[in-house]
């Protein structure tokens, strides 16, 4: 579970990212984080990833108060989370297979585990046949699918997706969200920050809307609610 308790984030230049935000996300949920640009979505994602720490309040993930996490413990928190970015963040000099295996090498998984898990992850995102290709030889949607495979290959409890469809056409974006839905159905909690109105409206999942750093809406089967 994830708990934000009265979380405020004020950046060094005085910008308020989040202002006294509280919410709870249960294990296995699929949650969209929506809101206008600059509303605080990215701050929320950064706090989850421990890229930033709250100015006040607590961020609790699996009974651990990550706001008070020591620097040396951050990697172990991140290993429980898969992360997908808008810009894919793949290593251009590694093949599709190597990009996915990379996430396992980092946690020092055995070669045997890597050989077993990487093909499974690639199969889940439908890219088994492109394992030997370089990211530059793939389309945007395919690159994001590689990023998804990398995010799930270590069986994380949480998948954080920051605008994963932002650089994709509607059809490809729908495919990516379908994969995310599949991953969620296997028990992984998915938190997705997005501007994709059609996707949010069609999925009928929980929606947390943030405006000016505060929660404007938190609906169990919500809609996007903004005009793009």
């Amino acid at each position: 579970m994830i708990l934000f308790s009265n979380v405020t984030k004020v950046y060094e230049n005085g910008t308020v990212g989040l202002d006294n935000v509280s919410f709870y996300i249960d294990k296995g949920e699929f949650v969209f984080i929506v809101g206008p640009s600059g509303a605080g979505k990215s701050t929320l994602i950064k706090l989850l990833m421990h890229e930033e720490t709250p100015t006040s309040g607590d961020v609790i993930i699996n009974d651990i108060n990550v706001s008070r996490l020591k620097r040396s413990q951050i990697p172990y928190l991140r290993r429980r989370m898969g992360v997908v970015f808008q810009d894919f963040r793949l290593l251009p000099n590694k093949t599709v297979y190597e990009n996915v295996a990379f996430a396992m090498q980092i946690v020092q998984a055995s070669k045997r585990d890597i050989r077993r898990s990487v093909p499974n992850a690639l199969s889940l995102v439908g890219l088994s046949h492109k394992a030997k290709m370089l990211p530059t030889q793939l389309s945007g949607g395919e690159q994001q699918r590689v990023a998804l495979a990398r995010a799930i290959v270590n069986n994380p409890a949480y998948l954080i997706a920051d605008e994963p469809t932002g650089n994709l056409n509607p059809k490809t974006a729908a495919e990516i969200v379908e994969i995310l839905d599949d991953i969620n159905k296997r028990g992984t909690t998915v938190i997705m920050a997005t501007h994709a109105k059609e996707i949010v409206d069609s999925m009928k999942k929980r929606v947390i809307a943030i405006e000016d750093g505060v929660i404007a809406r938190d609906e169990t089967r919500g809609v996007y609610g903004y005009e793009n």
Partner: protein
């Protein structure tokens, strides 16, 4: 560090060295340049010390024994001299031997000394060499205290100048070498920083996937060590050949008054020191470079 982690780090480090060929070459050349200057000062310092050692070994204090002293006391004086801590070697030059030497020096005119064998006006001398010239003054004072010693002869100015010069050169060399090491670490860290900068995206991804700081650092540190090691080998070869050439040139020119340390005597020490310097320069340089990109 698990073994498979270790293999991964080494493999990554070598891959990085070769895939960033030009950058690695620039870093290696930086190490070579630093170590060459470092080596020049090291060789200078070693040779100055060697030169001083030779002079120290040859330098003697002459202890002139009073002519009224008998055979027993003469031997006892020799023993007292040997018991002084800084004294290395004591050789008696008896007056009859000195007279014989003098006659030999005079050659055809030696006859002027005829008849002096029976009533030798020369004093017995002890030729005293010391372990350290730094303590020469103290040793001389102790020698003068011995009963039966008429006079001692030494050249304190020469000793003082020699000690001052060798100490200054050693001190300057140490400071220059230290300054060079700091400058080298700075230059190497900047060079490696460029390779780290080129791979900041990779580091960022590693951080988000849950890599520990040391997991990220190791390949860079090993890369630095490899670069340092190659730099050390190249600079050692250049210095070795150059020094050997210098020794050969000195020998061919027939210069005998200046003796250089033979290459065989400094080869092992300098190889070890260079390897250590190269590895430390590269390793520390890398550690400094990668630090900035770990703050995610």
């Amino acid at each position: 560090m698990k073994i498979r982690g270790g293999r991964y780090f080494i493999k990554e480090a070598f891959r990085n060295v070769f895939s960033n060929g030009w950058m690695s070459m620039a870093s290696i050349l930086t190490v070579v340049a630093s170590l060459l200057v470092f080596g020049l000062f090291m060789i200078l310092s070693i040779n100055v010390s060697y030169f001083a050692e030779q002079i120290e070994a040859d330098y003697e204090i002459i202890v002139m024994v009073d002519e009224t002293v008998g055979e027993d006391r003469l031997a006892a004086i020799g023993e007292e001299i040997r018991n002084i801590p800084n004294v290395q070697e004591v050789v008696l030059n008896p007056n009859d031997q000195r007279l014989a030497d003098l006659k030999e020096d005079l050659g055809e005119d030696a006859s002027v000394l005829d008849g002096y064998e029976e009533d030798n006006p020369l004093r017995d001398w002890y030729m005293v060499t010391m372990e350290s010239l730094d303590l020469a003054e103290q040793t001389a004072a102790q020698l003068e205290q011995i009963s039966g010693v008429a006079k001692i002869a030494r050249n304190q100015d020469t000793i003082n100048t020699l000690v001052t010069v060798t100490d200054s050169i050693s001190n300057i060399s140490i400071w220059v070498m230290l300054a060079l090491a700091i400058v080298s670490v700075f230059i190497i860290s900047n060079t490696i920083k460029l390779t780290v900068f080129a791979r900041r995206k990779e580091i960022n991804i590693m951080k988000f996937v849950g890599a520990t700081d040391w997991f990220i650092r190791w390949p860079f540190v090993i890369e630095g060590v490899i670069i340092g090691f190659f730099g050390c080998i190249i600079s050692l070869l250049i210095l070795g050949f150059a020094y050997n050439g210098l020794l050969g040139m000195v020998e061919n020119l027939g210069i005998t008054f200046v003796k250089f340390v033979p290459l065989s005597r400094i080869w092992l020490t300098s190889s070890g020191l260079f390897a250590l310097m190269g590895i430390l320069l590269g390793g520390i340089g890398s550690l400094i470079s990668v630090r900035k990109y770990l703050k995610v």
